[in-house]
């Protein structure tokens, strides 16, 4: 199928009003906040070298923090602030999505605004400031009538840089729950949907380019004292903002929000859950690509209403348990523990998505490796790859302890690329997922965990505290419980990893529902 006639372009386009509107909204708010803080600071410190130096140093340090990390840091920070607010003032706010994204991006926008603001104000000919005083201006009048107008073109250049940075970095706010053009990129990367990745990149690049050009027109107008250019630029910006924001405004509450982590299985399952709720006459949307620590807190805080997690993950990460129990016992204990946070564990879907050490079948057979214990003898000459969190998870520590594993090298990889890397021999062993269809596709084999170092990972449906007594919701979801076996989920995941129109999460979710009904 030709790239241009791919129906996924249409699917991507259908998301555009929502993604673009939210992207512009958060960028605009961040930039406005950034300016509201930075410009007064630039003005206040223009004649005070010591605080000015400190301020610029702070802004520079913020700038060196990678955008993704800065955004991720704001989530726990706000979460803590929200709980303090609740304890002291009895009010709380959502630490999810818009607020952390806006604050982090605002901080990110400060350096160019501050630097250019200070440069612009300090670069004014001192003779003109003396002239302003000499004709009888007060300090304030001199600032407003002479210094700021003269510094404006340089300040505008800083604002322009900040705007482009904010628009670019806003694509990284997807994992903390802020819908943005990054949704295309994150979802596309996870499901190997290159049309989405390309679309997301193009859309954010075009947006940044358009804003840069329009602000450039304003800057140019200010520099050449051409009112026409400045006015055209302002009108252009206003039109752009209006065109992107209006379609998202006036939309009523989104109803139930279904969360999804950042891998294909989660996209498929969240689409399936959303479809089930809609079929039951409930309004529902999916919020995808959430970071795996963000998503549980978001559920607890009620920012999302439901999602699918895995028993072993919660056992290790939320209950901080390193002992292993049989799956039914573990589920029962987990259910009791979650109930203390008022989270409902509605039930399991019927399959397990466990971590497993995976290697090419032929190589395993040649070396006589069937279990992880067999692997341990060869590990010192082998390399291993895992997803971004695996090597810092308790399961990895448990595996190393139980089998005395020590590999020659370890690497982190995008999950969907790991299987191909193992198949091609680029790495020897990967920490894969048992429900992944790619294990079969690439003729790989999962090694037996004979010492039960890895806990069971039943896929379980979790509901937010505020949905604990929601019978309509629970009735709509119950038909799914226990109905998805591992073979079905593997096939669904394999379909989702394809790079064609039938591989979109929505399409696979429909296929999966068909299988459930059989």
């Amino acid at each position: 199928m030709s790239l241009l006639t791919d129906p996924r372009w249409g699917e991507a386009l259908a998301h555009l009003p929502d993604y673009l509107g939210n992207h512009v909204q958060v960028s605009l708010a961040a930039l406005a906040l950034g300016l509201a803080v930075s410009l007064p600071l630039a003005i206040l410190t223009r004649n005070r070298p010591a605080p000015r130096g400190l301020l610029l140093a702070f802004a520079s340090i913020v700038q060196t923090v990678p955008g993704l990390a800065l955004l991720a840091l704001f989530y726990p920070l706000l979460l803590a602030a929200a709980s303090v607010a609740l304890a002291w003032f009895g009010v709380s706010f959502s630490a999810f999505g818009f607020l952390p994204a806006m604050l982090a991006l605002a901080l990110y926008s400060m350096l160019p605004v501050l630097r250019n603001g200070i440069t612009g104000l300090n670069g004014i000919d001192p003779a003109l400031i003396e002239a302003a005083k000499g004709v009888g201006m007060t300090g304030r009048q001199s600032l407003l009538m002479v210094e700021l107008p003269l510094a404006l073109p340089v300040m505008m250049a800083g604002i322009r840089t900040a705007a482009v940075w904010v628009i670019g970095t806003a694509t990284l706010s997807t994992p903390i729950g802020q819908t943005s053009l990054g949704n295309y990129i994150f979802a596309g990367l996870q499901t190997q949907n290159w049309v989405f990745v390309l679309f997301g990149c193009l859309a954010s690049a075009l947006l940044a380019l358009a804003v840069d050009q329009l602000l450039g027109l304003i800057e140019n107008g200010l520099r050449r004292r051409s009112r026409l250019r400045a006015a055209l630029g302002c009108i252009g910006i206003a039109a752009l903002v209006a065109a992107t924001l209006v379609p998202t405004m006036g939309r009523s509450s989104q109803g139930y929000v279904v969360g999804a982590k950042t891998f294909a299985e989660q996209y498929v399952l969240s689409a399936l859950l959303r479809d089930r709720l809609q079929a039951a006459g409930l309004s529902a949307t999916a919020r995808s690509s959430l970071g795996s620590s963000v998503i549980f807190e978001a559920l607890k805080a009620g920012d999302i209403d439901l999602y699918v997690d895995y028993s072993g993950t919660l056992w290790a990460n939320q209950l901080h348990r390193s002992d292993i129990k049989p799956r039914t016992e573990l589920l029962a204990e987990l259910k009791t523990a979650l109930a203390r946070d008022n989270i409902t564990l509605l039930g399991d879907l019927g399959f397990e998505n466990a971590y497993a050490l995976v290697m090419p079948r032929k190589r395993a057979e040649a070396l006589g490796i069937r279990t992880i214990a067999d692997l341990a003898a060869h590990a010192s000459t082998m390399s291993i790859a895992g997803d971004y969190e695996f090597f810092s998870r308790p399961e990895w520590a448990a595996l190393q302890r139980a089998y005395g594993l020590s590999f020659r090298a370890q690497r982190q990889m995008q999950p969907d690329f790991m299987y191909a890397a193992a198949a091609s021999g680029e790495v020897d062993v990967i920490a894969g997922y048992t429900s992944d269809g790619l294990i079969a596709k690439y003729d790989l084999v999962a090694l037996d965990d004979i010492r039960h170092a890895i806990p069971p990972y039943d896929a379980i449906l979790l509901l937010a505290p505020k949905r604990a007594g929601d019978e309509r919701l629970q009735a709509a979801l119950r038909p799914l419980l226990g109905k998805i076996d591992i073979a079905t989920m593997r096939e669904a995941n394999l379909r989702a990893s394809g790079n064609d129109a039938n591989s979109s999460p929505d399409a696979v979710a429909k296929w999966l529902w068909g299988k459930v009904q059989q």
Binding site: E130, V135, M137, P149
Partner: protein, 260 residues
């Protein structure tokens, strides 16, 4: 000399850090006088001028303007009632000629219509074509035109006193001469009291009623050109000899009455 001078400096001292810029300077300027303060760089002449409208503050001594101690007058109000012509214009580059000229009246809250009328009047006074120059930005003007706008701006709020900081220094000789003469007649016509600082004794002799000579922060001599020639100060006499020598050489070089 009248009993109350228009501007009075009495035992004025000023230091910048360890540098003594003025020591014990006393000078009275009568209403309607045109006084030139002549000196080299570092002589203290600019410091003395800037003290007059409190762009800087004196360390010691007393400065009076129209009989009032300047320390008792709000500095902003003081500056609005004293015209100030800056070296090379000091025009605001982002404001049109009209907006530059009208700035002090605007600060004083004069209505836009009155300011517009006043600007037209002033453009005529400094001999700039109204239609051609009113809405231009300073960058579109020649040096001489800019300084004419600078003079118009200083006069806009009808001050009785005008302070001039080397106003014609950066201009070519012809423009400089014309501008000097034009200002001199404005000074007389409007009954202004003018203090001009310059490093050029010839300019001072040609324009001013009285000349004060400064060197190293001290007032070395003051008086009419005639009185200065009787000063016993060697530096003052040397300053006066130069224009005369130049005039004599020019007389010898150029045929008498042979202006082409």
């Amino acid at each position: 000399m009248p009993s109350s001078p228009m501007i009075g400096y009495a035992h004025v001292t000023k230091s910048f850090g360890s540098l003594r810029a003025l020591s014990d300077v006393s000078l009275d300027i009568a209403e309607g006088e045109f006084v030139a303060i002549v000196g080299g760089s570092g002589s203290g002449k600019t410091t003395l001028l800037r003290l007059t409208n409190r762009l800087i503050e004196a360390d010691g001594g007393t400065i009076t303007v129209e009989g009032e101690d300047v320390r008792d007058v709000d500095p902003v109000a003081l500056r609005r009632r004293i015209g100030y012509v800056f070296q090379s214009g000091g025009l605001f580059p982002h404001l049109s000629v009209a907006d530059n000229i009208g700035i002090t009246p605007r600060l004083l809250g004069v209505s836009a219509a009155d300011i517009a009328a006043r600007v037209d009047e002033l453009l005529e006074l400094v001999q700039l074509d109204r239609a051609a120059h009113r809405d231009r930005l300073p960058e579109a003007l020649s040096g001489g035109q800019r300084q004419r706008v600078g003079v118009a701006r200083a006069l806009a709020a009808r001050p009785r006193i005008v302070l001039m900081d080397e106003p014609f220094g950066a201009l070519d000789p012809l423009t400089r001469d014309a501008l000097g003469d034009d200002y001199r007649s404005l000074h007389r016509k409007l009954g202004l009291t003018t203090v001009m600082i310059t490093h050029d004794m010839t300019e001072a002799l040609l324009l001013a009623d009285r000349i004060a000579v400064m060197r190293g922060g001290q007032l070395r001599a003051q008086g009419t050109p005639d009185e200065l020639t009787r000063s016993g100060d060697g530096y003052v006499l040397e300053l006066l000899r130069t224009p005369r020598r130049q005039a004599e050489r020019l007389n010898a070089l150029l045929p008498q009455g042979g202006a082409a």
